[in-house]
């Protein structure tokens, strides 16, 4: 589904991504782990079109999509969430969700005035969809709350909710589980599994919580210093010498542990 070929992303002298090649199979939930500063978020940013890579290519379903804008990639079904949750703070939760689907007729001035019937009909559809998502994520009580007032965990849920508003092919989740309490984490985990099974979403997720990864992901890609270290089943990579080395090299505090969410 996604193939990243010898990708380099340099910021001045910093080689944030340094010749990484990865492959994400259709229908998989692929984990992406690695110590802080390994280049995981940067890799996501390049794949999602925020940065044009220094060199290398990104293929989506075999098609070269390197250098397309985030908007164009969204259009092709490639969605992502942010490590630090983003939201439209002056819109309500429901409005945030309703913002997502593209090419709604209400977007042009012409349609707004001269095809108000079509606009209203489509808006009702999108609203129903948003309510479905709100139901699914069990956040009905804050549906009309301004998104800026949500708690950190609720914002993460909203991020996930955005990806459910359209039929995504592949969703990149950047630490959706970070800073989220156990109960909410389970809700998020269940939602990801359901989306994967029922709607055929492919996921690629950056996480630090090994329990969470063990439950959801196969395979797991390990990155360190901009390079791909190894790929394998969660247990395999955890037992891998090079992986332990990479984490230890960075000091014990970044060692992946069971039961640590951050």
């Amino acid at each position: 589904m996604i193939r990243v070929d010898n990708l380099n992303m340099h910021f001045g002298g910093i080689r944030a991504v340094d010749g990484a090649s990865i492959e994400i199979a259709k229908g998989s939930i692929t984990g992406l782990i690695g110590p802080n500063g390994a280049g995981k978020t940067t890799l996501f940013n390049v794949i999602a079109g925020h940065y044009t890579p220094t060199s290398g290519h990104v293929y989506l379903d075999g098609e070269d999509v390197t250098g397309l804008s985030p908007h164009e990639l969204f259009h092709q079904g490639l969605l992502r969430t942010f490590q630090i949750a983003h939201e439209f703070s002056t819109l309500t939760v429901r409005e945030n969700l309703m913002m997502v689907p593209d090419n709604q007729p209400g977007e042009t001035l012409w349609d707004t005035w001269f095809k108000s019937g079509t606009v209203r009909a489509r808006e009702a559809e999108v609203r129903a969809k948003a309510d479905e998502v709100i139901e699914f994520l069990e956040i009905s009580h804050v549906a009309n709350e301004l998104a800026g007032n949500l708690s950190g965990g609720q914002k993460k849920l909203l991020e996930l909710g955005r990806t459910m508003m359209v039929d995504a092919k592949i969703v990149f989740l950047d630490e959706v589980g970070a800073g989220v309490n156990r109960t909410l984490l389970n809700t998020i985990g269940d939602a990801i599994l359901r989306l994967n099974r029922e709607r055929g979403y492919t996921f690629c997720m950056i996480e630090h919580d090994m329990d969470f990864i063990g439950r959801l992901c196969d395979p797991v890609i390990v990155m360190a210093e901009g390079k791909v270290l190894t790929v394998g089943k969660p247990d395999e990579v955890m037992a891998n010498e090079a992986v332990i080395e990479a984490y230890l090299g960075r000091g014990l505090k970044n060692k992946p542990q069971r039961g640590v969410t951050a």
Binding site: F74, L91, M99, N103, T108, L109
Partner: protein, 337 residues
């Protein structure tokens, strides 16, 4: 008692009504500047000359209508020409965006680069306007001049002081209210308006939603061009049209936008009135008013005018400096749009 009434009438005639109408014009101008700032994230120095250009187009069309023998009864013919002037201004704004600003957006240039580009655009608009209509003063208000004449008012009330309301002043306030109501409805209720707010709030996220950034940018320019032309035509009807004066209007307009908190539509409106009232009150000669309300022996000898009208722009300048020093976020601090 009648002295007090006379004093109030005097104040209404020379301060309240002129400041209301001038404030409306500034508010519309500042609203355009603020929308551009909120969505495109730069201060558009070409806004004053966009006003001039749109007004110039409207005046030329008005002359064309006159030549065809068309008039608008008691209302100024320019109101008939206004929609066409707006369309021309929109076209110019969209072409400018495509030719100039889009390039810098692609480059992800810093805001200051956009500001400098807008200075260039300003000179260009400036030149275009002067080529077509020259640098001189143009008066293009026709139709009925007054809604309420001084004599009529005196007869009606029996007061010594007169009150006049010019058609252009009434039109200005009515149009301002309608346009502002429309813009707020648009931003709050329509999908396009919400998309603009969303884009302004969080561009990264907007790009990852269904929001088409090109469309949002286009609509912002369309709104800004319409607001600029409306503000310019109203100002021209009320006073007169001279390209250089419109360029100078940039100062009170930016003062208005910044006083209210740049990027905030509500702030732009409030700012417009704050600046207009300050300017009119500071340059008004209070002698007549004070004479009416104090005992005869305390009547002032001088004009009691704080600042000559020649220096009226100093008022905006002072407001601007004070706000930037004391409360740079403006009075309506907080989120943009």
């Amino acid at each position: 008692m009648t002295d007090i009434l006379n004093a109030l009438v005097l104040l209404s005639n020379f301060v309240l009504i002129p400041a209301l109408s001038y404030g409306s014009q500034l508010a519309l101008g500042a609203l355009g500047v603020t929308l551009i700032y909120a969505v495109l994230r730069f201060s558009n120095f070409a806004h004053g000359d966009m006003m001039a250009l749109g007004t110039m187009a409207t005046i030329m069309i008005t002359w064309g209508l006159h030549a065809m023998g068309v008039s608008f009864g008691p209302l100024p013919t320019a109101l008939l020409a206004l929609p066409f002037g707006i369309l021309i201004a929109m076209a110019v704004a969209l072409v400018t965006d495509r030719a100039v600003y889009r390039f810098y957006r692609k480059q992800r240039s810093a805001p200051v680069v956009f500001v400098m580009a807008s200075v260039g655009v300003m000179f260009m608009y400036n030149a275009i306007t002067r080529i077509f209509i020259g640098t001189g003063d143009q008066r293009f208000a026709d139709g009925e001049r007054f809604v309420l004449k001084v004599n009529e008012f005196k007869e009606l009330t029996g007061l010594d002081q007169g009150l006049a309301i010019r058609t252009s002043q009434l039109i200005t306030v009515v149009v301002m209210v309608a346009v502002v109501a429309f813009v707020f409805w648009f931003l709050q209720k329509t999908r396009t308006g919400k998309a603009m707010r969303a884009y302004s709030d969080n561009e990264d996220l907007a790009l990852l939603s269904g929001i088409n950034p090109d469309r949002v940018v286009r609509i912002t320019w369309i709104l800004a061009a319409a607001l600029a032309t409306i503000a310019g035509v109203l100002y021209g009807l009320d006073k007169s049209f001279r390209p250089f004066v419109y360029f100078q209007l940039l100062l009170p307009i930016f003062a208005s936008a910044i006083v209210g908190g740049i990027g905030q539509p509500l702030g732009a409106i409030a700012g417009g009135f704050i600046v207009a009232f300050s300017e009119v009150m500071v340059t008004y000669a209070w002698k007549g008013f004070i004479t009416l309300i104090v005992p005869a022996d305390m009547a002032p000898e001088g004009l009691v005018q704080l600042l000559g009208t020649d220096y009226k722009f100093a008022v905006s300048f002072i407001i601007l400096v004070v706000v930037l020093l004391v409360r740079p976020t403006g009075i309506f601090k907080g989120r943009v749009i």
